[in-house]
């Protein structure tokens, strides 16, 4: 080894986009979050134990016994026709119906919502293109857009979601810079990570702005059915036939382990999506699609959805009351009406990323906010999940977190010369 070794013989051969992939100490610290001693508010997992697993198991057994030869076979790149019909029925519930041009022919089934995002990126993004997205936004979308070597420009939100004036400003600024803005990526309902929802009036304003600018809207709606306080506003796609691609998933309403999502796209684009997905994965899992089709056809899924809503509402309430009771002055947070997450803002001067080791030592985990921004901002923020831990664990986690924040604030004060 006279020339030394890097223990990686492929160092000089990687694509440029891989260069930023390094071991992360934050990711390593999260390894501890799986231990039961740690209250993890870091995940984004649905509470799958709420499913009637025995019944689901029997259903899957019967499915394999009766339809195994097709369910375990290759399928169509676009996805199973029966499932696409059921997906259209689901979308019709929220106003995306035949009248709005939603047809099973224009649905493409994907491997979770994540592959839907990947397809959109493959179809539309060239290196250097700009994507507008809420700030903060879904970390998995950032990963996809960055892999496509696009530039993500964030548009700020408040408790009412994306700020329309800020969207106009961002568009103007990108035009001034001579940038090519390809689309607006938005999670308007129970946003991940912020937990906020774009109001009805703002939905119209955002759509008008995008329409005027000829800007495509990618509407990601994984959480829209997880409402706790009345129905969510109608999706953007239920308000416009053109210019909006609608992405959703069964991960939050049934089970993420099946990895099934979908895109509703205009007819012309549909064919390109299918060709792209065939080149990418050949076809989504026929088995997973068959399970979901059977679940939607034979089981009381609407009742199950209500069960999820009740469980999450109780946990949301537990988190909000624990935050109100226990958090130190200077801390603020959003008040989600659905979904899985609360977005919290630390008192001035504190850094959620730097605080992670102290939190792990305090046996509580959260996701620091910087991961939800392409530009590394958001360090004063953290995402807190309430769907997975029990109400008791949530309160205990918030209690621990409050202690961690107080220790960190005291430490910062010492080294800022305030004490």
């Amino acid at each position: 080894m006279t020339g030394g070794t890097t223990l990686d013989d492929y160092t000089d051969r990687y694509a440029h986009r891989v260069s930023g992939m390094t071991a992360s100490e934050i990711r390593a610290l999260f390894a501890v979050a799986n231990r039961p001693e740690v209250v993890s508010l870091a995940g984004g997992m649905p509470y799958i134990s709420a499913l009637p697993l025995d019944t689901v198991g029997s259903m899957i057994g019967e499915l394999v016994a009766s339809q195994g030869a097709s369910a375990l076979q290759y399928g169509l790149g676009q996805g199973m026709p029966e499932l696409r019909e059921r997906i259209c029925e689901l979308m019709a519930d929220v106003g995306i119906d035949v009248g709005m041009g939603a047809s099973p022919d224009d649905v493409v089934v994907t491997v979770g919502g994540q592959q839907a995002l990947d397809l959109v990126a493959r179809l539309f993004l060239d290196p250097g293109d700009v994507v507008l997205a809420e700030g903060p936004t879904y970390v998995g979308a950032l990963g996809v857009f960055q892999a496509a070597q696009a530039q993500v420009v964030h548009v700020p939100m408040d408790e009412d979601g994306l700020i329309p004036a800020a969207l106009s400003d961002a568009l103007l600024e990108q035009q001034r810079l001579g940038k090519r803005v390809k689309f607006l990526y938005t999670i308007p309902t129970y946003q991940n990570p912020a937990g906020v929802t774009l109001t009805d009036s703002r939905r119209e304003q955002v759509l008008d702005i995008c329409e005027r600018a000829g800007l495509l809207v990618i509407e990601d709606d994984p959480y829209g059915r997880l409402s706790f306080d009345g129905e969510a506003p109608l999706p953007l796609r239920a308000r416009r036939r053109e210019g909006v691609f609608y992405l959703s998933t069964f991960s939050k309403t049934f089970a993420p382990g099946l990895r099934v999502g979908w895109i509703l796209a205009p007819h012309a684009v549909r064919d390109k999506l299918v060709m792209t997905t065939e080149a990418n994965i050949l076809c989504p899992s026929n088995f997973a699609q068959s399970v979901i089709t059977a679940y939607l056809s034979t089981m009381p899924w609407r009742e199950q959805l209500k069960a999820y809503q009740q469980i999450y509402a109780e946990r949301r309430d537990a988190m909000l009351s624990a935050l109100a009771d226990l958090m130190p002055d200077g801390m603020s947070w959003t008040h989600p009406k659905g979904g899985l997450f609360v977005w919290a803002t630390l008192p001035d001067g504190l850094d959620a990323k730097d605080m992670v080791p102290r939190a792990i030592a305090g046996r509580v985990a959260y996701v620091p906010g910087n991961g939800f921004y392409a530009d590394g901002t958001g360090r004063q923020n953290m995402r807190l999940n309430f769907s997975y831990p029990t109400p008791e664990r949530i309160r205990e986690g918030v209690r621990r977190l409050a202690g961690v924040i107080e220790q960190e604030a005291a430490m910062r004060a010492v080294f800022n010369g305030e004490l």
Partner: protein, 312 residues
Amino acid sequence: MNVLVLAGGLSYERDVSLRSGRRVTDALLGAGVEAEMRDADVSLLPSLSADPPEAVFIAMHGAEGEDGSLRGVLELCDVPYVGADARASRLAWDKPSAKAVLREAGISTPDWVALPHDRFSELGAIAVLDRIVRRLGLPLMVKPAQGGSGLGATVVKDASELPAAMVGCFAYDQTALIERYAEGVDIAVSILDTGDGPVTLPPVEIVPSNGIYDYAARYTAGLTTWHSPARLSPSVTSDVLKVALAAHEALGLRDLSRVDLIVTPDGDCTVLEVNVSPGLTETSLLPMAIQAAGLDLGEVLAQIVRRAAVRV
């Protein structure tokens, strides 16, 4: 024989430990030793009672694996284990204590100050830091008094960077070690004792691509170049090995350890720290040194385990 490999734990280095544990388990199995990996949790002691292994290999890093406490518990259970005993482990784990022992033994180590965060709040951080900079000069290395994998460690080149480095360090530990930054070549010397007394393995030279051997540089293949044996002259190599062995013995370690040191531009060796539970991942230094010595990792670990198993 059957060996229990302990890996995981609740320390900041859980992920590294799990990787070390898997590598140790595989290497032992490859050498024909029955080995099983498990976490150290509430089911450990009942399992040790019900099905006592002939020896335990502690592939845990961070406090649980290295501060002596788990070793003390294994001693309570009369289960033999590989590595330094509880007392020596505790000494080596606490960097300021270890540095004091090394200096007492005439081994060079950078000048240092170790202070718990309480002293800074009581006495005023700015005034204390000012004194530290005046005494030690710049640049400085700030790191947790107890810890590993470069977590919480920062090189401070300008005094204005010191408060942030201290906050970063105190996120990991109650006490900070601030030492004069030792400029030079990063060297790691692994030491093994398979029954004939401790012997040094070929020194490994570490050249991180961005100049800092931080967490990413340690655990991302491709970000660091390792030279094994190190590109040192025979006389400097000889000095390095002597110093490393002296450090191992001064701290009363056994079976295996890794001594991290710097060879300064003048060819002097100064010891940074000594590890009683060296990393055994794919990018770790001990396996590299074993390979450079022409030895087989599985065979070496099997010898050490067999030796530990007959220890009373």
